[in-house]
């Protein structure tokens, strides 16, 4: 088990205006897992991902990563978690527009202080893995949506994270590009990466080994779907 959520709640507002974005959630993620979290819009999927990944703090409960509580860590301690343990892939790709694809992939290595030579070598390797070697020196605006998302996946992989959190990674893409990204995630999982992915597309969710159905801040169903794979 690499990640565990214990009785986690996230409450917005107070008094009568209280909204339970997460309502007493408990969840375990094991090494090698490939989890899809599905649910309607506003059900709290993104909040779950943010809280699990240390991007946001839970109001109640504990998040334990590799045996260590991370929900009560300060910003400086969270930096170390983002530099290797958890990586994120966002729906909007979130690339820095002034940097090339290669430089965007290098970004986490620049922050973690890797030597210049290693940075470039590692980033080229990751771009190769997502099939974008030839587009390394293009700026994000010169890339298609699918290509931009592949750059952001390469960026997530560059620090060799324990867990990849993906928030609707295919949400902004057309059918074919979405499928490519989906296959990329399938391949990464086969290579041993642990992936937790939020989606509202049943077809994409069907690729995962485990499906969590989410509604009104609660887990409705948590089932293995190995048979479907």
């Amino acid at each position: 088990m690499i990640l565990e959520a214990k009785n986690v709640s996230k409450i917005y507002g107070d008094g009568t205006a209280k909204v339970f974005a997460l309502d007493n959630i408990s969840l375990q993620v094991n090494e090698g897992d490939y989890i899809a979290v599905m649910g309607p819009s506003g059900s709290g999927k993104t909040t779950l991902l943010n809280v699990l990944g240390g991007l946001d703090r839970p109001t109640k409960g504990e998040i334990i990563l590799d045996g260590m509580r991370i929900d009560n860590l300060n910003e400086n301690a969270l930096v170390n978690i983002r530099r290797g343990k958890i990586a994120y892939v966002f729906q909007e790709y979130h690339l820095i527009p002034s940097l090339t694809a290669l430089e965007n992939v290098m970004l986490p290595l620049i922050f973690s202080g890797s030597p210049d030579g290693t940075q470039k070598q590692r980033a080229i390797e990751m771009l190769g893995k997502v099939g974008l070697s030839r587009r390394a020196n293009h700026k994000p605006t010169e890339l298609s949506g699918g290509e931009q998302q592949r750059v952001s996946v390469a960026r997530a992989l560059v620090n060799n994270p324990t867990l990849i959190l993906a928030d609707e990674p295919t949400g902004n893409l057309d059918y074919n590009s979405g499928l490519e990204i989906q296959r990329l995630f399938d391949q990464l999982n086969e290579e041993g990466h642990t992936i937790l992915m939020v989606t509202h597309d049943p077809e994409k969710a069907s690729h995962a080994k485990r499906l969590i159905l989410f509604k009104d801040g609660k887990i409705v169903e948590d089932k293995n779907q190995d048979d479907k794979k």
Partner: protein, 401 residues
Amino acid sequence: MKLYQVALKEIIRRKIRVMYTSLGVIIGVTTIVAILTIALAGQIKINDELNKYGPNLMVTPAISDISMSLGGLSMGTLAVGENYIQDNVLPKVRQITDDLIRKGFKDRGIPFEDVGNIATIAPRLYTNADINGKKVIVVGIDPAEERKLRIWWNIAQGKYIEKEDEALLGTHAFGALKLNVGDTLLIGKKELTVIGVLEETASIDDYQIFIPLKTAQVAFGKEGSISTIDIRALCNACPVEDVARGINNEVAGVRAVAVKQIASAEMGMMEKTNNFLLVLAGITMIVGCLGVINTMMTSIHERVREIGIMKASGASQGQLIQVFLFEAIAIGVIGGIIGYIVGTIAAYIIGPLIFKGIVIRFVLEYLPISLVLAILASIFASIYPSFRASRIKIADAFRTL
């Protein structure tokens, strides 16, 4: 790739916004450079302006102490007593004064134009005369030197003395004697023409008649005698007391006294002018900084997504602050260079409006000063905004979109 390269690429992409942010620094540096450039060029002009204070050194005949010991009555005798300075001391007085002023400038390392006479030395001979049945004070003067010393003298009618047989009248003397410009005036044994009348000065000058020194000496049979010498020494650089001491030590029969009130007022004026300008420049810089803080805050708000991306990619608070400080330095460099150029141009335009006939020169030494000042100011202005930026939560950074 290094962190500063990431920052630099972002700055290049957002160059218009960065320029806009620099505006506050540019305005501050422009003001400071313009003021300093004009002030430097204006130093000599300010000296000229200070001449309006009149003489700052008075030379009178030496009076022996013995007369004083005779008591109250003899005091009266002293006041009307015939005490004169021999006019052959004038060259020596000039030489001592000029030498000491030169030394004063040299000792303080101040450049100055060493051409001809430096000090203004104006001898005067006072006599009483009966003119048209009225008692009037007639003053023999060196017309050229007197004019330089009494800058506030304006001619109300006619013109200033040019020839030996011309007389200039104070406004009340002119009124009391009921004369017209061009009339002939009998002073002692000499006939003179009334050549001009002074405007009212609100001083004793209004009641006096001025005639050339030589003419006065001959008219009253006082050849070679003068009553006082007024000296104007350029004393922004040289303590006027030194000049007084030099004259007292080397010239017999005279007593030189520094008019301290005037000397210290001159020093004070220079100091006050400089302080005022620096305070003005300082305020401009502070206002500029507030402008930078403001635009930096806006700029951070616009870049909340980039900040979120960098944090999610493992940037620490310190690294984010570094990125913003790189930007601050870039803003400082842009602000410093542009501010220096615009400030110098402003000095060329505004300088002549403040000091007529001023010669402005660009001062290259101000460029590094401008750069350092601008960088420090923009770093100072960026501290709070970058600290705020580094504390933005990633979830909030992406949620605002």
